[in-house]
């Protein structure tokens, strides 16, 4: 609809040619520049995907998906890092998202003018740029060193901390964009405030909130540094959260620089798997949202 509107409008106003022509020329230039920008971004994406697929697809075999990691030359797979990554990413998202959402709700709905809210907003934004290895170090100090061993749960904690600020930032921004009139309408019908927030504001903003969660998943699914000193990695099969746990990014980190062709191949395949996995989550979430809208 929006694409036909300006055409109609401009047709009607063609008489005021001078100013209008200039504005339309500017519009054309901006439109062309935006198309070029989109093209550049798409070209980068195609180049990345091409690099990933052309390097990673050869290793994407049945045995890669069903066998555990082995020393070089023994035909190992990626089963333990795949499962480890799924467990850690999923748990971190499940823990980090509600905390981030509620904190974002607090900032957007309750925090107006509050000093505490300002402080929360500020430190949360600062954490966005904290090098993730320092988050790993923090978790190491509170969950690894005191217990004397590395564990999957420490990895989950480090990733969950990284989820929080991204979700907080997007939640607050998106909730603030929900028109006041919608909330007022709900409140006028006698809805308690928490219901107004959860059923009106959050629902209206859910697309944006989902973007935040997906960006957070994308970020933690590929994080290496916070896992090195928390979940460490595991060469053997283990799904126990109390034990060191393998993950795809740590496997990439250690295999990509190795001297052995099969390990380097597995590193590229890991990279392909992470990207494909995050994309899949993205698409499923979007399709799910769209279905719910109807």
């Amino acid at each position: 609809m929006s694409t036909t509107m300006p055409d109609l409008a401009s047709a009607a106003h063609r008489r005021h040619s001078g100013l209008l022509r200039r504005r339309r020329n500017i519009d054309h230039v901006v439109t062309a520049l935006c198309a070029v920008a989109t093209f550049i971004v798409l070209a980068a994406l195609v180049s990345i995907l091409f690099t990933l697929v052309s390097n990673g697809i050869r290793g994407l075999t049945f045995s890669t998906l069903t066998r555990v990691t082995t020393p070089p030359g023994n035909g190992g797979g990626l089963l333990n890092p795949i499962i480890g990554s799924i467990i850690q990413t999923a748990m971190a998202t499940l823990i980090g998202t509600p905390v981030g959402l509620l904190a974002g709700i607090y900032l957007a709905e309750y925090g107006a003018g509050s000093q505490i809210a300002n402080a929360v907003r500020f430190v949360s934004d600062m954490l966005l740029s904290a090098p993730s290895i320092l988050v790993g170090l923090f978790v190491y100090l509170i969950l690894v060193a005191p217990f004397g061993h590395f564990s999957g749960i420490a990895g989950v904690a480090a990733l969950a901390i990284l989820v929080i600020p991204i979700v907080v930032r997007t939640t607050e921004d998106m909730l603030r964009l929900v028109p006041l009139s919608m909330r007022e309408a709900a409140a006028a019908l006698g809805a308690p405030r928490w219901k107004v927030i959860m059923l009106v504001s959050v629902r209206a903003a859910k697309r944006g909130l989902m973007t935040g969660v997906l960006l957070a998943i994308a970020r933690i699914a590929g994080e290496t540094a916070p896992l090195l000193f928390t979940s460490l990695g595991n060469l053997n099969w283990s799904v126990s959260l109390g034990q060191p746990m393998a993950s795809l990014p740590v496997t990439i980190y250690q295999y990509a620089g190795s001297a052995y062709d099969d390990w380097v191949q597995l590193a590229w395949t890991s990279a392909l798997l992470i990207t494909a996995g995050v994309l899949l989550i993205n698409i499923v979430a979007r399709v799910g949202l769209r279905g719910e809208d109807r």
Binding site: T70, P72, A145, G148, H149, L232, W237, S258, A259, V264
Partner: protein, 333 residues
Amino acid sequence: MIGLAFTATAAQAVDITGAGSTFAAPIYGAWGAVAKSSIGVALNYQALGSGAGQNQVIARTVDFGASDAPLTAAKLQTNLLIQFPTVMGGVVPIVNLPGIAPNQLHLTGEVVAELFSGAISTWNDPKIAALNPGVKLPDTAVAPVHRADGSGTTFVFTSYLAKVSPDWKSKIGAASSIAWPSGAGAKGNDGVAATVRNTEGGLGYVEYAYADKNHLTTVELKDKAGAFVAPNLDSFTKAAAAADWASAQNFAVDLLDTPGEGAWPIVSATFVLLPTNPKDPARSAEVIKFFDWAFTNGAATARKLQYVPLPAEVQTNVRHAWTNVAGAPDMSR
């Protein structure tokens, strides 16, 4: 289903955790895979880097630490650790010079030091030409590439430069990461190799296994006896044989520029650090059982991955040293 099957096998084996040296990761992994089925010890070794290996065993978050750089006697004592070598390997300079074949270029330690310090800035420098009569050297600028990540390989390489060049020793020094006077850094062996490949006139250093597998252009270095030696398992073994193990305290042997004929000058051992007062003696006993098995049965695997196994008499001394660990099984024979 698969999960159940794996959990079942893992439950029978005792899991031990080690962390540290990246250089040693392939061989510990290879030994671990066989040891699991033959003696029931499941090793989880993670290559965090040598410094991290030291820190983690001191913090007692792992059953053993692994480091390319030995700890001092004082540090071993205060942290209640013993240290022993497991295998040895070489570090090799690599170059990217059009028309120069692998091992065609001859260099000395002093010249390598001057190339990395920036004192020699073009490849047709008279000092290089004097070492390479008959070789056509390009007038390309020297582009030194070093490891950007703190690394045991850098420790070994800079220790060699400091040993052969007094100038390097006084002005720059040796450590796992240093203030490089010139050039660019790159992450990991692969990063250094790729940057050298991208840059005409490039010069870098990598672990030998990496250079060998990727057919990089290595150079010949002058050994202590004055002959030019190519890097290979044979010249590393000669360096190991010529080392003075007897006077080395805590096995911290010096394998750099050893006097043996045909000995590659940049060789180092990699070490394992083990607490003498383990919080769980049973697990330390498993670590000892593992390395005992590896010493007896792992030499062929080590050579296949381009590592030099320990000489027999050193193995005997290491087995003796294990008796210092509380609750250790007696492996001396």
